[in-house]
């Protein structure tokens, strides 16, 4: 079968790999119908995530058709059209039972801090991902969800990560009616976070990014205020000035480890890998949130450490909330939102690229070429 194949930092290709097999009685084999490249795949692509091995297939956002099921699978049958959450969750462990499906303790032997994730290095379990024609899906009774009749597959594929992650970012912000919310990052997750902030009753939503085309998109898509930090000397000071010098009630970091905007963070975090990525967005979020406010983190960082003003977290009494998204917990509500037209995620897809051209797809997305917001791989 054809699959994306990682060859080293900045290098991927489509090549033929053996078909996946049922390795566990609760596995299913899914024929992929849609898969996306996620912003967090770029951390792998750039070689920033430890234990990313040559030969791995990335991809944690995909839909497909169930081709084969293991002997203990009860909730799925061959032929079902499913969307597959990016987390691999057993549904039984102490964390899954609390709804923390993104923190499953039975899916990732290599690290205890993170649950299993499709196609996200051996640090997240060593599973091959969905940027392929077929994929093995463990714990098939837990994660995969049958796509409701009539739902567009382009909407469904974005319900596997982007939509729930943006929504959970807003949810973790504990947004109260009338709150001012600042979202750092106008990538797909940041766009969905801005859109979701309104659903929780925000009174004002502001998005900060560096790319005008993305800011224009989010301004139209989520009806929010947008500012390009390249045209602002000091983003923190700017946010203070536009929020009565108090700061925002809630700040959302939807950027993560590859943030631009600070030479110091970029050199130490992205170029020299002396810290677990560049934490510029998080630094800005902590410094521009109101005293007693909430910082919500969904941007992905590496496992070591980052330079952030933790003293200000204490002095300002900030609550920090963060987690990998618990997709399964949020799906029922989000499917409802998509079906009712409250959310229209497929508008985010700007590029449809055949799987065999995956190296070009990564380059376009990584370098933000051709107005790219969300690339979809067609198998």
């Amino acid at each position: 079968m054809l699959a994306m194949n990682y060859r080293g930092p900045g290098r991927v290709r489509a090549s033929h790999k053996p078909m996946p097999e049922i390795l566990h009685p609760q596995d299913a084999i899914v024929r992929v119908t849609r898969s996306c490249i996620c912003g967090s795949d770029l951390h792998l692509y750039h070689g920033n995530v430890p234990d990313t091995r040559v030969g791995t297939t990335f991809g944690h956002e995909f839909t497909g058709v169930v081709e084969e099921i293991g002997s203990e699978v009860r909730n799925l049958k061959v032929g079902d059209q499913v969307l597959v959450p990016f987390n691999i969750a057993c549904g039984r462990c102490v964390f899954c039972q609390q709804g923390l499906y993104g923190n499953c303790h039975e899916s990732n032997p290599e690290a205890t801090a993170v649950g299993g994730i499709f196609g996200y290095s051996h640090t997240a379990g060593g599973y091959d991902g969905g940027q392929a024609e077929y994929v093995r899906v463990p714990y098939a009774d837990v994660g995969p969800t049958v796509i409701p009749a009539g739902m567009d597959l382009d909407d469904a594929v974005l319900l596997t990560d982007v939509v729930p992650t943006g929504y959970q970012a807003a949810e973790m912000g504990g947004i109260q009616v009338g709150d001012t919310v600042v979202v750092f990052g106008a990538g797909p997750v940041g766009i969905m976070a801005a859109k979701s902030a309104w659903l929780f009753g925000a009174g004002r939503v502001i998005v900060i990014d560096q790319l005008d085309y993305r800011l224009e998109f989010v301004q139209r898509y989520a009806q929010c205020e947008v500012y390009n930090f390249d045209s602002i000397e000091d983003p923190v000071l700017f946010i203070k000035k536009i929020t009565d010098h108090l700061g925002a009630d809630v700040c959302i970091d939807a950027v993560g480890a590859e943030a631009a905007g600070s030479a110091m963070q970029t050199i130490t975090g992205r170029k020299m890998l002396l810290q677990a990525g560049s934490a510029t967005a998080l630094q800005w979020a902590i410094n521009s949130v109101k005293k007693g406010g909430v910082v919500s983190i969904v941007g992905v960082y590496g496992p070591t450490g980052n330079m952030i003003p933790i003293g200000n977290v204490l002095n300002k009494g900030i609550t920090i909330r963060a987690n990998q998204t618990s997709v399964k917990r949020l799906l029922p509500r989000l499917i409802e939102h998509v079906q009712n037209g409250v959310l229209n995620p497929k508008e985010l897809i700007t590029h449809r690229i055949p799987l065999q051209d995956v190296s070009d797809a990564y380059r376009i997305f990584s370098d933000k070429l051709d107005g790219c917001i969300k690339p979809l791989l067609i198998t």
């Binding site: 990732n108 299993g116 060593g126």
Partner: protein
């Protein structure tokens, strides 16, 4: 009272008898003061011990590296690229350290870079070394961002040219006996033949 409050209340009832020896235990307990809700839905029946009914074990687990912060391999695991070669040895060494140690992650990053070289060598062995530029998505970059491709090519050519110039100059001007001393001279090397031919050509 919602499900969340109910759970908090029932747990409080359960524990109050057990903790009766502590004066004031739980008097200020407030189930609503839970910043983790609804991310974490506590239920009174759950403790912290790993006492859930574990699924069956996926076969082949003996060769899987696992964090030393857990007692064993998880019941399922990925098999995308088993640790092998020199990079695999470094990875095995990394897993001797816990996730809280820098050594663990730095060794894994080092293994990744070694693995990259192993992968490229493997590509060359299988005649795929020429895929290097296409793997980098050069086609798309040429289409949408020609300026960067040209700049990178020019900088690359300048650096290679400069290095080649320096090397050549160094080798031509160092006395043969000194070159031999420095280990730069091999009687059968192509470089020596090239220098010899070059000198011959330059003679009047």
């Amino acid at each position: 009272m919602n499900e969340h409050d109910n759970n908090g209340q029932s747990l409080k009832d359960k524990l109050s008898a057990k903790m009766s020896h502590i004066n004031g235990w739980g008097v200020d307990a407030d189930p609503k003061n839970d910043p983790t809700y609804p991310m974490r839905r506590r239920t009174g029946s759950l403790g912290n011990a790993p006492n859930w009914e574990r699924p069956p074990q996926q076969p082949g687990y003996r060769h899987i590296l696992h964090s030393n912060e857990r007692p064993d391999v998880t019941r399922v695991f990925g098999t995308s690229a088993p640790a092998a070669g020199l990079s695999g040895m470094i990875r095995r060494c990394a897993f001797k350290y816990s996730e809280g140690r820098f050594a663990h992650w730095l060794l894994l990053l080092a293994a990744d870079r070694v693995n990259m070289v192993e992968g490229f060598a493997n590509d060359v062995r299988h005649g795929k070394g020429c895929h290097y530029l296409t793997d980098k998505g050069i086609k798309a970059q040429w289409k949408y961002d020609r300026k960067t491709v040209v700049t990178k090519a020019a900088v690359g050519a300048a650096v290679v040219g400069l290095l080649a110039g320096i090397c050549l100059r160094r080798h031509i001007h160092i006395r043969p006996e000194k070159r031999h001393f420095l280990g730069l001279l091999d009687k059968h090397s192509k470089l020596q033949r090239f220098i010899h031919d070059y000198k011959k050509m330059m003679q009047p």
